[in-house]
C-alpha cells in the first residue's frame, strides 16, 4: 500500500487525516482511491503538484506507484 501524505491546509477535506495508505499502480489510481475515501477531493488534488518518491510532478496521471511509494501532495510551483 502506497503512503499518501496531505499538507495541513488540505486536512479540512480529509476530515483531519494527514496520512493514509492506498492501493494503486499509478497516480491516476491514487486519485481514484482518494476520491472514494473523500468524495470531491480529486478536483482539489488535480490542482496540486505531487511528489512521488521524491520526484515532483505537476501532472502525473500515468506515473507508476509502487506498494512502498511515498506520495506527498503540495502546491503547484510556477515561476518567473
Amino acid at each position: 500500500m502506497a503512503k499518501v501524505v496531505f499538507p495541513d491546509h488540505l486536512l479540512q477535506q480529509t476530515g483531519g487525516t494527514k496520512e493514509t495508505t492506498v492501493e494503486a499502480t499509478n497516480f491516476r489510481g491514487v486519485l481514484r482511491a482518494l476520491e472514494k475515501l473523500w468524495p470531491g477531493i480529486e478536483e482539489t488534488l488535480q490542482k496540486t503538484a505531487v511528489a512521488i518518491d521524491g520526484q515532483i510532478y505537476q501532472d502525473a496521471w500515468l506515473e507508476p506507484v509502487r506498494p512502498d511509494s511515498e506520495i506527498y501532495f503540495m502546491q503547484r510551483i510556477e515561476g518567473g
Binding site: H9, A51, I56, E70, E78, G80
Partner: protein, 743 residues
C-alpha cells in the same frame, strides 16, 4: 551520460545567435509591428482604488472622428464562470485598484485614442480601499471581494484572506523548549516590480471567420492563446499567437492584459489594432510581486544544531487571490534538515494590482526573513554563518519541508565553496559589513515540444516554442550540437508560433533549458535513429549494426561491411534517395527538475550621514547542474543578484492613502543602474541533475532569492543593529541610525 569534461559543445561559450540583431536594433519587439490600416488602442483606467462601476457609456467617444471602436466590461462574456483574469483585463462591476481597466478605444492615431478616452463616461461609487496586508487581515476589514471565503469555506464570514497554507513537522514547541538560544525576526518587504525594460505591447487582427492573430511580447505564446480564448469565450483553435522578441519579463509576461482587448477592438472595427502600454501603465496596472509581512523564529543548541523553526507569512495578492505564499512557505526552510518546524502562510487581497510572478515567486521575501534570523542566530552563538548552515545543511536524502526527499543537491557544496572563496577568506575592510544568505528554488519541468529538421546540406534547424529571454536559443543549439555530434554553427534554433510548433508551456520557472532542452535532445536522438536506418539501408546491413559517433554513422565494431562512415551531411545530401526528408520530433512533460541552491555574500559600507548603502562586493555561488552555456548561467546569476540588490536597497511601490501609486516611473521607482553596482562575482557549482541527459537543473530564479537577506545581514554587520524592513533606502537607514542614537 558522458562526463562533463567529455562534452564538445556543452560548456563552451559561443555568441548567442540572436545577439547581433538585438544590439543593432534589427530585432522586432512587441511594439515594432505595423500593419496596413492599423488602429491604436488605448485603455481607460480607474481613478479609484476601489469603486463600484454603476455605468459606462462609450457613445460620445465612438462618435468622435477617427475613433473606430470602443468597449467596456459589458462587451465581454460575463457569467458565474468568468475568471479573475478576465475581470483583471477589463473590470466588470467593480474597479479593484487604481489603474484597473474599465474601457478601451481604438482610433486612427494614439493621440485621437487618448482624447477619446476623455469622452467615455463612467459613473463610479467610490469605496474605501484596503491597502495593507495587516489592515486587510484585521477583524472588520473592508472587503475587496464580498464573496471570498478563506480556503473556500463558506460557513465562515467573508474575508480578504483567500487561503491559509500550513506545513508542519514534529513538535515545534518541544523543539524550541530544547533550544539554548532562540531568535526572532519580524520584517516587511515592499512590493517590487520586475523592472523589464520593454512595456507590454501587442497587435491583433481578426478576420470575418472569427480567426484572430495576435503578435505580442510574452514569455509564453501558447498561454497567451489559451488565456485570450478564455477571456473572449473563443476556442483555442481560433487564435494564433506570434511571439516577438522580448525585452525582459522575469515572470511579469507570463499572463495577459492587452491581448483580448485588442482582439475585441479589432473585431469591432474590422481593422488591426495595436496596443502599447506606457511605463506608467506598466507600474499602475500590471502585476508586480507581493508586499509581505513575515515573522521567522529559530532556536538552536549551543553547538549550532537547530532544534526548531517557525514562520508566519502574509503576502499581498492584489485585487484577486493568488499570492505566491505557497512557494514562500515551501522554500523558507528548504536549505535545512530540521526535525521540528511549523510554517503558516496567508494569501491576502488588497486594492492593488493583482500580483504576477517575479523570479522565484515568493521565495525572496520568505527567505529574507528566515535568513535574517539564521544570521542573528549565528551572532548569538558566536558561530561563523557558513559553519552554522553547514551544521544544519540539507543533503541528498534530507526530507524537504514540503514533503519529498531531496535527490542529489548542491547546497553543501555551495557552502564549502563559499568558505573557500577568496572574497570570503579575505578580511573585510574597516568600517564595512559582510552578510551571508542562502537561496533556493524548486525549478519546474512541464510540457515542451521540439522539432529538429535536417537540411540537405546537413545543417539542422531546431524549432521550439519558448521565447528566448536568457539565451535559450544558444543553449538549444549547444544541446543539439552535442547530441548530434556536429559543430555549434551547424545548428540554428527558431522560436515558432502557436501554429508552427508543438505546445510549450511558458519560458519561466527556470524550465526552458531543462524541459525544452530535453525535447530538443530527444528530437535530435530521433534524427540519429533515422540516420542510422538510412545508413543501414545504404550499407545493406541491419540497423542494430550501426553506431552513431562524432556526427556520423559507422558500422559497429566487428560488422563485416566495406563502408566509409556517413556523416550527417552525407546522409542529408542523399535523404531523397533513401526515404525523404529527415525530421526529428519530441514532446515531453518533463519530470524531475532539479532544485537549485545558492549562497550569496556581500560586503557593504553604510554612509552614516546620508544613510546610503554601497555594495562593495557581491559574490553568488550556485548549483546550476551542468552549465550548458556557462556565460549565460553567470549572466543569470548576475542579473538576479542585481534585481535582488535593487529590491534590498531601494525598490518599493509607494502608495498614498487613496491607493494611488506615487512613484510610477523609473525616475522615482529606483532600479539599480550600472554605477550602483560592483562587479558581481560568480562561481558555478555543477552537481548534475540525474533526471536530465546532460544534468541540467535550472538557473534563472535562484539568483534573486538570497541577495535580500545577504544585503540585510551585511548592513546589520556594518551598523551593529538590524533594520528588519526593506528596502534599506537612505531615508529608512538614516531614521534607524537616528533612532538608535536616541535609544
Amino acid at each position: 551520460m558522458a562526463e562533463a569534461h567529455d562534452y564538445k559543445a556543452i560548456g563552451t561559450r559561443p555568441v548567442r545567435p540572436d545577439g547581433v540583431d538585438k544590439v543593432t536594433g534589427r530585432a522586432n519587439f512587441g511594439a515594432d509591428l505595423n500593419l496596413p490600416n492599423m488602429l491604436h488602442g488605448k485603455m481607460l483606467r480607474s481613478p479609484h482604488a476601489h469603486a463600484r462601476i454603476k455605468r459606462v457609456d462609450v457613445s460620445q467617444a465612438l462618435a468622435m472622428d477617427g475613433v473606430y471602436a470602443a468597449c467596456a466590461g459589458g462587451d465581454f462574456p460575463t457569467n458565474e464562470r468568468t475568471t479573475d483574469l478576465a475581470k483583471n483585463c477589463m473590470a466588470r462591476d467593480k474597479a479593484l485598484y487604481h489603474g484597473h481597466a474599465v474601457a478601451a478605444v481604438a482610433a486612427r492615431t494614439p493621440y485621437i485614442a487618448e482624447r477619446a478616452l476623455d469622452l467615455i463616461e463612467v459613473e463610479y461609487e467610490p469605496l474605501a480601499p484596503v491597502l495593507d496586508v495587516d489592515e486587510a487581515m484585521a477583524d472588520g476589514a473592508i472587503l475587496v471581494n464580498e464573496n471570498l471565503h478563506t480556503n473556500g469555506d463558506a460557513s465562515k464570514p467573508a474575508s480578504n484572506v483567500a487561503a491559509i497554507v500550513k506545513f508542519e513537522r514534529g513538535d515545534v514547541e518541544q523543539g524550541f523548549a530544547e533550544a539554548d538560544v532562540v531568535v526572532e525576526v519580524d520584517c516587511r518587504v515592499p512590493t517590487a516590480h520586475q523592472g523589464y525594460i520593454e512595456p507590454h505591447a501587442c497587435t491583433a487582427t481578426i478576420n470575418e471567420e472569427g480567426e484572430a492573430t495576435v503578435w505580442c511580447c510574452t514569455q509564453g505564446h501558447f498561454d497567451v492563446r489559451s488565456l485570450t480564448a478564455n477571456v473572449l469565450g473563443k476556442s483555442v483553435g481560433e487564435i494564433k499567437v506570434i511571439p516577438s522578441e522580448i525585452g525582459g519579463g522575469f515572470g511579469g509576461k507570463t499572463i495577459i492584459y492587452l491581448e483580448p482587448i485588442a482582439v475585441k477592438l479589432s473585431e469591432m472595427s474590422g481593422r488591426p489594432v495595436k496596443m502599447v502600454m506606457t511605463r506608467e501603465e506598466v507600474f499602475r496596472a500590471t502585476g508586480p510581486t507581493s508586499a509581505t509581512h513575515c515573522r521567522a523564529k529559530v532556536g538552536a543548541k549551543r553547538d549550532g544544531k537547530i532544534t526548531a523553526a517557525s514562520a508566519w507569512l502574509a503576502y499581498e495578492a492584489g485585487a484577486f487571490a493568488g499570492a505566491p505564499v505557497g512557494p514562500g512557505c515551501m522554500s523558507i526552510l528548504a536549505p535545512y534538515d530540521l526535525e521540528h518546524f511549523s510554517i503558516e502562510g496567508h494569501d491576502v487581497l488588497v486594492n492593488k494590482p493583482k500580483v504576477a510572478a517575479y523570479r522565484a515567486p515568493g521565495a525572496p521575501q520568505a527567505m529574507h526573513a528566515m535568513e535574517s534570523a539564521i544570521d542573528d542566530l549565528a551572532r548569538e552563538l558566536g558561530m561563523d554563518p557558513i559553519d552554522l548552515r553547514l551544521k544544519n545543511s540539507a543533503d541528498e536524502g534530507t526530507q524537504a519541508p514540503y514533503g519529498p526527499v531531496f535527490p542529489a543537491i548542491g547546497f553543501r557544496k555551495c557552502l564549502e565553496a563559499t568558505k573557500a572563496h577568496p572574497n570570503y577568506t579575505k578580511p573585510k575592510a574597516e568600517g564595512t559589513g559582510r552578510g551571508v544568505a542562502a537561496g533556493f528554488w524548486f525549478n519546474i519541468g512541464m510540457q515542451s515540444s521540439a522539432e529538429a529538421r535536417l537540411s540537405e546540406d546537413g545543417t539542422v534547424t531546431v524549432v521550439e516554442g519558448n521565447p528566448d529571454i536568457g539565451g535559450s536559443r544558444a543553449s538549444m543549439c549547444l544541446m543539439a550540437a552535442e547530441t548530434l555530434g556536429v559543430p555549434y554553427d551547424r545548428v540554428r534554433t527558431h522560436v515558432g508560433d502557436t501554429e508552427s510548433t508543438g505546445f510549450c508551456n511558458v519560458t519561466g520557472g527556470s524550465r526552458t533549458t531543462f524541459a525544452t532542452g530535453l525535447a530538443v535532445v530527444q528530437a535530435c536522438e530521433d534524427i540519429i535513429a533515422q540516420c542510422k536506418q538510412r545508413a543501414a539501408a545504404t550499407w545493406d546491413i541491419d540497423v542494430e549494426q550501426v553506431d552513431w559517433a562524432d556526427g556520423q554513422a559507422i558500422p559497429k565494431p566487428g560488422v563485416n561491411v566495406d563502408a566509409n562512415p556517413l556523416s550527417l551531411r552525407d546522409i542529408a545530401k542523399n535523404a531523397g534517395r533513401t526515404g525523404g526528408p529527415i525530421l526529428g520530433r519530441a514532446s515531453v512533460n518533463a519530470q524531475g527538475a532539479g532544485a537549485s541552491f545558492s549562497v550569496n555574500f556581500a560586503d557593504v559600507k553604510v554612509d552614516r550621514e546620508t544613510g546610503k548603502i554601497d555594495v562593495l562586493s557581491f559574490t553568488g555561488i550556485q548549483d546550476a547542474g551542468t552549465a550548458i552555456h556557462p556565460a549565460y548561467v553567470e549572466g543569470q546569476m548576475q542579473g538576479g543578484a542585481v534585481q535582488g540588490l535593487g529590491w534590498a536597497l531601494n525598490e518599493e511601490y509607494i502608495y498614498d492613502e487613496n491607493g494611488v501609486m506615487e512613484n510610477a516611473g523609473f525616475l522615482d521607482y529606483r532600479v539599480p543602474v550600472a554605477s550602483d553596482m560592483p562587479m558581481i562575482d560568480t562561481q558555478i557549482i555543477e552537481v548534475p541533475n540525474p533526471s536530465h541527459p546532460y544534468g541540467v537543473r535550472g538557473v534563472g530564479e535562484t539568483p534573486i532569492v538570497a541577495p535580500l537577506a545577504a544585503t540585510s545581514n551585511a548592513a546589520r554587520d556594518a551598523l551593529g543593529f538590524r533594520i528588519a524592513d526593506l528596502p534599506l533606502s537612505p531615508p529608512r537607514v538614516l531614521e534607524a541610525i537616528d533612532n538608535q542614537a536616541d535609544a
